[in-house]
Symmetry: D2
Subunit: 346 residues, 4 copies
């Protein structure tokens, strides 16, 4: 039985971790951390957990938590995990950080895009980037895991095979992404009120969103050269889901069938990446509540571009589900354990 502690258990990603971990047969949650709700019943903050979770929220004491837990999930704003993690903690518990603190290897890039000083750059080198389908072996041996961002997960998995194979020019990549509103978190902000989000769509963070360097770094590894992309996120009036529509110029004369064969080769044995049938566009509704990423491709012979598409649930594969997938790998469990929820529709 893996003992798990959560710091930031009352955010949306934290609550999703609770939902999924409770359904994992080999995990026990031992710590519901939430600075804002200390001493309050967890189930009074999230009534879905009424009569399911009896525990009370605790504080952010990662040191005490490391004594009780085998794994610590930090589902907190940037900066917190970096400020708490120590050698002593990592000797006692594995840490899976859902924030961006350890995703980017170049600390100056992190500090520039996030606008904060990194509190423990010495750990960046050890941290493993937890995109399970791509970094599986390294993840198995990680003590400190950087769980990928929601947009990067969907973006990278949607385009990775063609970048890796060199079939597209990665510097022509334009990633136009759309996210449900749970990605904006549970903070009380006017911009996230129902009446502000409903009946609206907008781009935000244009040419400046923090997930850009994360995507670029991972694609640079795949391309074996520096990659610079355009990335634009949009806010969509729905609770869950990310859709990626990516455009890139082909470097060689290939057909849709050729490209699908490559995707099949990369993802054919993956449980959680589903290459849809030819001509079927990914839609967020078909993955809601599950750890699946649905991908597909479309060649446009008129422009010699390929359109690469992906859909997933931002709270599952884009956050809590992938964190558990990584936990399974780190603890030698079956990767799919606790993650075989069937997408719920409608």
């Amino acid at each position: 039985m893996i003992k798990a502690g959560i710091i930031g258990a009352t955010g949306y990603a934290g609550n999703e971790l609770v939902r999924l971990l409770l359904q994992h047969r080999d995990v026990q949650i031992v710590w519901y951390g939430s600075k804002s709700y200390i001493d309050r019943k967890y189930a009074s903050v999230y009534e879905n957990m009424f009569q399911i979770v009896d525990e009370t929220c605790l504080d952010d004491n990662m040191d005490a938590l490391a004594d009780e837990a085998d794994v610590i999930f930090t589902a907190t704003p940037q900066g917190l995990c970096a400020s708490l993690v120590t050698e002593e903690i990592l000797n006692r518990a594995k840490v899976i950080d859902l924030s961006a603190d350890f995703r980017i290897q170049d600390v100056s890039v992190y500090e520039k895009w996030y606008g904060i000083r990194h509190a423990s750059p010495q750990w960046i080198g050890e941290a493993v980037y937890g995109l399970s389908e791509i970094n599986r072996e390294a993840i198995r041996h990680a003590r400190l895991l950087a769980n990928p961002g929601c947009y990067p997960t969907c973006s990278i998995l949607s385009v990775y095979p063609l970048v890796k194979e060199g079939w597209i020019d990665p510097n022509t990549l334009i990633i136009d992404a759309k996210s449900g509103t749970s990605g904006a978190g549970r903070g009380a902000k006017v911009n996230n009120l129902y009446c502000e989000v409903n009946e609206n769509i907008k781009a935000y963070g244009v040419a400046s969103h923090r997930h850009t360097p994360e995507i670029e770094e991972q694609l640079s590894y795949a391309a074996k050269k520096n990659v610079t992309i355009s990335f634009t996120p949009h806010l969509v009036p729905m609770n869950r889901g990310i859709l990626v529509t990516a455009y890139a110029s082909l470097t060689k004369d290939v057909t849709e069938e050729d490209i699908r064969a490559v995707y099949e080769q990369y993802y054919g044995k993956e449980t959680f990446v589903r290459l849809l049938e030819s001509g079927v566009c990914p839609q967020t509704r078909w993955v809601e509540g599950s750890n699946y990423v649905d991908v597909n491709v479309k060649v446009d012979p008129r422009t010699r571009r390929v359109i690469l598409m992906g859909a997933m649930d931002n709270l599952v594969k884009g956050a809590a589900g992938q964190a558990i997938q990584n936990m399974n790998l780190m603890f030698g469990r079956k990767e799919q354990e606790g993650l075989m929820q069937i997408p719920m529709f409608p």
Copy 2:
């Protein structure tokens, strides 16, 4: 292993049956019946099932199905199940009917409210009304089970204890119910288009909705006298969920604590009925995707009325989940088997 067949597998309730049965460790689905999609891949109708369900849709042949299945679910419009069921079928397989055909004991009441002729009234007497929390023992021995309607399930469970105890005058009951749009089914009708439902709320079937006599019959058994109620359903712009707000005059001078004690007595040992803490109103978001019904009560001393409230997921406890709960009882399984999904939020 229980072999299950579904007639009407491509409606919303049918798809929810598939989702839940696939997660039931002791069930195998052997028949995906769908007259509209015969020979088409089930997963091409419901892409959430891609790479999960490989089967193709079959027709409505209940006789052939009875050879292959231990249990047949009919998730079809009124009239179909009644037209198909025979002694020969019931000898081979148990039938759980999600339509209204066998819910109402008085065939003239059925024919008046539903406006169709009942094709096999001879089976009505044998059919058991499958509100698990109330009819548990009879359900265990049923061959033909009438799965309750969505509104009746939420309405009856919300008010049952006080009707049964005689603490309210059942003829003062006014049930104002609100449902998500999946309850309207997947038929292509202008009234159910996105732009017609979104940004709108309306009452429908005022003083004439077919679930009225079903609620009245069950409450009459509880009250041991004829009960006539007001029932008004409303359509709400959301996918899932039913909320019941019921009003009734108290027959005696009792406090909220007294009433909660009665509810505790009726539901304290029930897994799927959660009596919320005092002052907490049921909300559909806290039960989405699960088999729970959340209930609570509020006494209004100014009017000497009590307000009884309930919330549930219309596709789970209001349809597929309750059908599986009944199946578990009918086959001697643990009632909760396959039904412990934690509500998904947001």
Copy 3:
């Protein structure tokens, strides 16, 4: 030209006042008051007004405002208007208060339900309750107008004729109301975040909502006796709209036609109350963006109750539109001036 000032111009009702007043041919807005946004461009708070409103937000100085304006609208939380209004101000400008401060004649009732001390009870007697269809003559001569609450407007207009005629027993009245989320205001609260409201319906303020005594007082005048009702509001995932479903016992043996004839008599000449054709239920989508209230009735012979229904836009007839309707009356203008917007669908 009527010079109008708005205190609270950056709330949802304030912005709706701006939208409607700008389309009124006989009004000029001279003061955009907003304590939270002083010195900020109004159009940067509400970008719909970009290139339409060039003004900057000012503070709440009602005294200075009274020098510049003929009419002052206060679209602010309870308590503010009562704390600001003085004889000197009322001598210079008419005041239309969209808060509850002057709606309730009995100050102890106000203080009990609102939980605050009334700062200027001496003005309550002079204030006129601005339900235009019912109080038209008194409104024409008012200096201080109490604009009705959103729920009371829809509730009272839906039931008024039968209460006035004595055809229903008003103490059997149960008003089950449903509102869009703009009614909750633009404050940054977790409960009003998109993900909390979307895919959810809930009751709130059960047996304790502040609009209850306002409805009761007005119905008591109509009934010429004290009326006590049940009133339950619900929050619906949509931006705009209120739907009222009201239930009452008939005191005499009347048909739907009889009742419709009474409604025709009361509302036949009213521009903004539309008695729908027999059998057509009011829906919020058909009144969105307009000052209309759609009403209809349904007799249930089984229960000898009548169901009275109404739908309106909470920000127009329920707030800003009705305030302008009252302004027109107070300034001797045509009542419909600036208010003939056609409902926008979808």
Copy 4:
């Protein structure tokens, strides 16, 4: 007084034409054409028009209609207008076609993308493409006007100045567009049901959407060479609104200020195109119900691309509003007449 007839008055665009024309002081609607609802009261199909429109739906007889009307709007599926228009009709009435029949000059391109045979190619040459801001002078003299598609209107206006000036390479243009669901029309299709659209986002018509050649043709005129673009539409769970996010490579070293100056030069005097302040992204909520298109630009120095953005209401500027703007020009009226509705929020 301009007498207007509408063929296809019961679609969403038709109903929006009715809403707007009724508020135009110089127009009288003389014909509500709707093949599906002949002899039915218009207001029973669209209850928002109750007590506002008393007329009954008529058939598609364009010849009879030309005797009664000065202008005929066809808000019908592709093919119908082309099959009805004749010299005799055009001699008596001006025709504004909201379908695609006369938008594309090359009939073979039309027939290839739309998959139907054009019934009257002889009129294509005379038809004027009605993007008012760009074709104003030609529109004034048109008899037969091709009202632009919704996506083309928003797309072209968002990118036009830079294509015209040659500051971007038009063949690098990637237009990622997002639309509310009213754009899909009022036909009863499973894909447009509430539960299918809600909580979902999808791309559709990838590399094959019919609006692609329309955009390309107009941009080719601006660029004075053949332009081939990538265009991908997406369906968003909201009623109204189109958002365009377009990406292109800059051909010269310019700043955001330089580009904004060009946009200012093109649109500074336009009533309906609003260049937002620097850094403010267009959002559909700020234009709902109005004829405005909000545009803005963002230079990304990292990629030497510019991101061009636009937002508008698909039923107003994208259909009915622009049709009326064109009508005003064709009849010598003030272009803004009847179109100064302020965007409604929320």
